[in-house]
């Protein structure tokens, strides 16, 4: 039973980590390789805010906002120029961004490990199902569920979501309707960066904050995004659940095989349903 709860927390962490990537792909058609770097930056900025204010919650709120602003800047200065070209150029550009962001982080914060302590009110474990569950994990589940609901409402139900979808499916049509497509794109990239940094800030109390952390999550994010269907938020939620639960069960019974299991899942998906397990055909990408 405790495995189930932990599996849920793994799932929502995966979702928070990958939501931004799938959003940017779905709406802009860009594979953002720098997603991991933005995630890392989120963790570092939240560390800095915690250092200054002593509050984890302020870090969780402001780190994503700061990184979102940076994302908007990146979009305006660089990415905007290569939309019209082949996917490969966007990929290459974001690849270059990884190197720049990584070294900028090194320049600002140095080499040494940083750490964000678990927020005071979430340090005590909760006795559940004959085991001890960290209350921070329970918080991650609740927070992840909230964010996924919020994203779903924003993209599928709100006027903003409609504008974003219109701009992504037919930019010319959207323009004639008076939508500023450029601004929408900047906004979407900023939102994607926001989500990446949110993932970083929420992971900060769980892992050491160091320069390699972005590199290590990007493959996980790809796995979720591909299984869920490129650019499909609902699919990403399901894929996170599938992967998180698979991992929880895998770590319980066959720890050594978890990594391979993940890839088997991925390759199976790509071969038999390349559009993703949960995508509705023709919906996106």
């Amino acid at each position: 039973m405790s495995t189930l709860i932990i599996g849920l927390s793994l799932s929502f962490l995966l979702f928070l980590l990958s939501a931004g990537l799938t959003l940017i792909f779905g709406m802009l058609g860009v594979i953002n390789f720098a997603h991991g770097a933005l995630y890392m930056l989120g963790a570092y900025v939240s560390y800095q805010i915690v250092q200054i204010t002593g509050s984890f919650w302020l870090g969780l709120l402001f780190a994503p906002l700061i990184v979102a602003a940076l994302g908007a800047l990146i979009e305006i200065v660089a990415l905007k120029r290569v939309y019209s070209r082949d996917h490969i150029f966007q990929l290459l550009l974001t690849f270059g961004l990884i190197l720049v962001i990584d070294d900028a982080t090194k320049l600002i914060w140095g080499f040494d490990y940083k750490q964000v302590p678990t927020p005071e009110m979430l340090t005590a474990p909760v006795a559940l199902f004959g085991s001890q569950i960290p209350s921070y994990r329970l918080f991650v589940i609740a927070f992840g569920a909230l964010v996924s609901l919020g994203l779903f409402l924003l993209l599928d139900r709100s006027k903003w979501g409609m504008i974003i979808r219109a701009a992504s499916s037919d930019a010319d049509m959207a323009r004639t309707l008076g939508i500023d497509v450029n601004q929408v794109r900047t906004g979407v990239f900023a939102l994607g960066s926001f989500l990446a940094a949110l993932g970083g800030a929420i992971t900060a109390p769980l892992v050491p904050i160091e320069l390699g952390m972005g590199f290590s999550v990007i493959i996980d994010c790809f796995v979720v995004v591909i299984i869920g269907g490129l650019g499909n938020i609902r699919g990403a939620i399901f894929a996170s659940l599938l992967l998180g639960m698979t991992r929880a069960v895998g770590f319980t019974y066959a720890t050594e095989w978890v990594e391979l299991l993940t890839f088997a899942l991925l390759i199976g998906t790509l071969m038999f349903r390349p559009e993703g397990l949960f995508s509705y055909k023709g919906r996106s990408a």
């Binding site: 793994l10 962490l13 490990y113 302590p117 085991s131 001890q132 769980l206 999550v217 319980t252």
Partner: protein, 393 residues
């Protein structure tokens, strides 16, 4: 098997060679050039910087010279990857460097080792702990002055015995060195009548131990052995702290914590036990002088990386100085049979059979520190004598 083949190949190559590199080097050069291949970026970026500080201290202390010539370092970054390590070392050896110092990760060090064997250039290792680096009759020009994982595993079992732990649950990084470390630990446990109630191999670079930790809580183990280091070890201890795993189970590991790792782990590190490569608190004249000079220079306590780098290089340069020769074979012969009486850790003795320095083992626990110490610091509780940690040569 593999290595023997290589030595055979390298040997044949040396016989037919038309350009004997060592002879060229035997003439007195203008300086003593050290090819320092360390990690200044990548997973071990932090370690390279600290090693550099320690190594520079060792050189500064002797007025920057050896054999009457200035010592010149070429600092190169291997990005914590073997290919750049070999690439950069090859370039420096081509420029006539007299020795290789490094690397940090065992993978890079093993790669440099084959270069050192092939080019007949001395190679000093002061941090990589993989037992394979100092195999019996292994690389003839490589030396390690720091700990091996094997001796740290032995210390872990000594600790289990002295704490009276009876049931151990282990987590082991899925990596050759840590896997064989665990096997060794298992054997020792059997001899000591300690039960291993569980072990999970977690992927190297794993970021989530929650399921494994959950299994540990539900087990009846009284000790948790963590056969992992660096990020993996920190992540484990951090996440274990969120369920107070250490409250009624003792968490320990061969290289689980030191002052740097504790700072990265936070309060969850308190009470965790670990083998320590070097510690500034060791009380002897050499170490006290080193720590004082290091603090004056850098405003902080030397880390284990800085301390080991200082100690190894100081020992090596002393031997070179005493050899009064520029002949590589003379240095290697002398170093293989040398004893470092005034090491920062006490006494170190180079073993001629495997080029591994026999030395005492430090074992400590993370405690709260008072200024000028860091907030979390290692308290050295035990110093194990070398003969309990090393098999006879």
């Amino acid at each position: 098997m593999k290595r023997r083949n290589f030595l055979k190949n390298a040997g044949t190559a040396a016989l037919v060679t038309t350009l004997p590199a060592p002879l060229v080097r035997a003439a007195t050069p203008d300086d003593f050039h050290i090819a320092a291949i360390l990690s200044f970026s990548g997973a071990y970026g932090l370690i390279g910087n600290d090693m550099r500080k320690g190594a520079e201290q060792a050189v500064a202390e002797r007025g920057g010279t050896v054999l009457g010539k200035p010592i010149r370092f070429s600092w190169e970054d291997d990005e914590t990857k073997p290919q750049p390590a070999v690439q950069k070392a090859s370039r420096l050896l081509g420029e006539g460097a007299q020795m290789i110092f490094g690397a940090v990760s065992s993978a890079s060090t093993l790669a440099l080792q084959s270069l050192s064997t092939q080019r007949k250039v001395p190679h000093l290792v002061t941090i990589s702990a993989d037992d394979a680096i100092t195999k019996r009759d292994g690389a003839p020009y490589s030396f390690r002055t720091s700990n091996t994982l094997g001796m740290e595993i032995n210390m872990s079992m000594e600790f289990v015995k002295s704490r009276g732990l009876k049931k151990i649950y282990a987590v082991t990084a899925d990596y050759q060195a840590t896997r064989s470390g665990f096997e060794r630990f298992e054997e020792l446990a059997k001899e000591a009548g300690v039960e291993i109630v569980g072990n999970d191999f977690a992927p190297l670079g794993n970021r989530d131990y929650s399921v494994i930790i959950d299994k540990m809580i539900r087990s009846d183990a009284d000790g948790i052995a963590v056969m992992a280091t660096g990020n993996d070890g920190i992540t484990f201890v951090k996440q274990a702290g969120q369920v107070d795993l250490g409250k009624d189970k003792v968490i320990f590991g061969p290289v689980l914590q030191d002052d740097i790792f504790a700072a990265a782990t936070g309060p969850a590190a308190l009470g965790v036990n670990s083998g320590v490569r070097y510690h500034y608190s060791v009380d002897n004249p050499t170490n006290n002088a080193f720590v004082a000079a290091y603090r004056e220079q850098h405003g902080e306590m030397p880390s284990s990386f800085a301390g080991e780098a200082y100690d190894g290089l100081r020992w090596w340069l002393d031997v070179v100085e005493q050899s009064d020769s520029w002949d590589v074979e003379t240095w290697v012969e002398a170093f293989a049979n040398s004893v470092h009486e005034t090491s920062v850790e006490g006494r170190k003795e180079m073993r001629a059979c495997d080029h591994q320095a026999a030395q005492v083992g430090l074992w400590g626990e993370v405690v709260k520190g008072e200024a000028p110490l860091p907030e979390l610091t290692m308290k050295i509780n035990e110093i194990f004598p070398a003969d309990r940690l090393f098999d006879a040569c």
